[in-house]
């Protein structure tokens, strides 16, 4: 339960971090370290060098710019939970954070780290997917932005290249017609969910448009249930639950069998659909 030896360097700037990443074949970025250090302790990861980004100035801010809420790579859960900008402009995130692990983990863990790590059972990747976030990535040639629908590539794999780092999350601002909902089933408070669902929609008359349903803990990545989205837009909740059979393909694990996960996914969908249809949030 001790990490294998590794070198360690503090990056002074994003450019410096990228330079260090380029100079080493087997480097890992460390931010909050709440997933990575556990993996190091268990030797599931044994990088040659850790590049610590915690001292890079300018990555700890939450701000509104160009119609987006920008969350820097070092914004921690505890900080986001206290942020009025997050509760006003990204109420889905504010709803989800209390479900993320425990208070001591939220002291250090970062939203950006969770998205970059892309754990299929984590809340933040699914929230980003539901919100239609844009992920800001820095590399040797400067910054680029990737739409969240193109970001997750496989188990713990994302669009972030080997010599690149995530620098910010950009979320469309919440508005009067936006609806958000969040739910998860976990065995115990703070455990990874057996099944979870983050959802957004736009209220249109008595119905819903632009529904985005992002499930987590049901596959290799957070995944959208597009058949169910279409059914909800048509006002058919039971049709949406039925559509999950085509949308989701979970494997059973030690916490829940495939059948249990599918049953819980349907139960969550009914709950979340009712929440989305409620009057203005």
């Amino acid at each position: 339960m001790k990490p294998a030896p590794f070198a360690y360097a503090k990056a002074r700037s994003v450019a410096h971090a990228v330079e260090l990443l380029s100079a080493h074949d087997d480097a890992r970025i460390i931010a909050g370290g709440q997933s990575l250090v556990a993996m190091l302790n268990m030797r599931l990861a044994a990088p040659e060098i850790l590049i610590d980004i915690n001292d890079i100035p300018g990555l700890s801010e939450v701000s509104v710019e160009d119609g987006f809420l920008r969350i820097g790579a070092l914004v921690r859960y505890a900080q986001a939970q206290r942020s009025p900008l997050v509760s006003t402009h990204a109420p889905l995130i504010a709803r989800a954070i209390p479900h993320v692990a425990h208070a001591a983990i939220r002291s250090r863990g970062t939203l950006g780290g969770s998205v970059a790590f892309a754990d299929p059972a984590a809340e933040m990747p699914a929230c980003m997917l539901a919100l239609g976030a844009r992920i800001v990535i820095a590399g040797v040639d400067g910054e680029r932005e990737v739409a969240i629908d193109d970001f997750f590539k496989g188990l713990y794999e994302t669009a972030i290249g080997p010599a690149e780092m995530l620098v910010a999350l950009r979320l469309p601002l919440h508005g009067p017609s936006r609806r958000v909902a969040f739910g998860e089933y976990a065995r115990r408070r703070g455990d990874y969910a057996m099944v979870g669902l983050a959802a957004t929609a736009r209220a249109q008359g008595a119905g819903l448009a632009d529904v985005r349903l992002a499930y987590f803990s049901v596959g290799l990545n957070a995944v959208r249930a597009q058949g169910a989205e279409a059914a909800l837009e048509a006002g058919d909740v039971e049709g949406a639950v039925a559509a999950l059979d085509g949308d989701l393909d979970p494997d059973g694990d030690i916490h829940a069998s495939r059948d249990t996960k599918m049953h819980l996914a349907g139960a969550l969908l009914r709950r979340v659909a009712a929440e989305l249809s409620e009057a203005a949030q």
Binding site: Y8, A9, L50, R188
Partner: protein, 164 residues
């Protein structure tokens, strides 16, 4: 600027005292406190962030010392169970743990006390459900938690009374 080395000199504050040590980059804070500084009140349970036995305060925030590298604590202020015990900051909470039998084997107790300590300064008094939620990341295999929640609640109420 720290070069990419396997070992680093670090300077930090531990329980109010300045400490300078040379550490391996891979040394986590729990081992640093226990093995290098002899502060064995910080316990190690699971060593992957699940059990909460190793909880300490880093710059006043509850933190898993098994998920924090010592080298990352350069310039920070770390408080362990020894620190908050010696200062008397949680003497009432510790007495409530004793009086209510909120510990049996005691292995989880340092982490539990540290975790609960940040509730004692909360602006709004948490209810039992919120206390349970707050300590949900700290495992106790003896008590069934009920007595721990009692001890925390008793202390909170007594402090609220005294503050009135």
């Amino acid at each position: 600027m720290t070069a990419a080395q396997m070992e680093h000199e670090i300077t930090l504050t531990v329980n109010g005292f300045a400490v300078s040590e040379r550490v391996e980059a891979r040394r986590h804070l729990a081992d640093f406190l226990r093995e290098d500084l002899g502060l064995t009140g910080t316990h190690i349970g699971c060593e992957h962030g699940v059990c909460g036995a190793c909880t300490v305060l880093v710059d006043g925030e509850i933190t898993r010392s098994c998920l924090t590298l010592a080298v990352q604590c350069e310039g920070k202020s770390v408080t362990t169970i020894e620190g908050i015990s010696d200062s008397g900051a949680v003497a009432d909470l510790q007495e409530a743990f004793r009086a209510r039998n909120a510990l049996q084997c005691g292995y989880c107790t340092p982490g539990m006390v540290i975790t609960a300590s940040v509730l004692l300064d909360a602006e709004e008094m948490p209810d039992r459900e919120e206390i349970r939620d707050h300590i949900s990341g700290n495992y106790c295999r003896c008590t069934g938690y009920h007595a721990i929640v009692d001890a925390v609640e008793t202390t909170l109420k007594a402090r609220a009374e005294a503050g009135r």
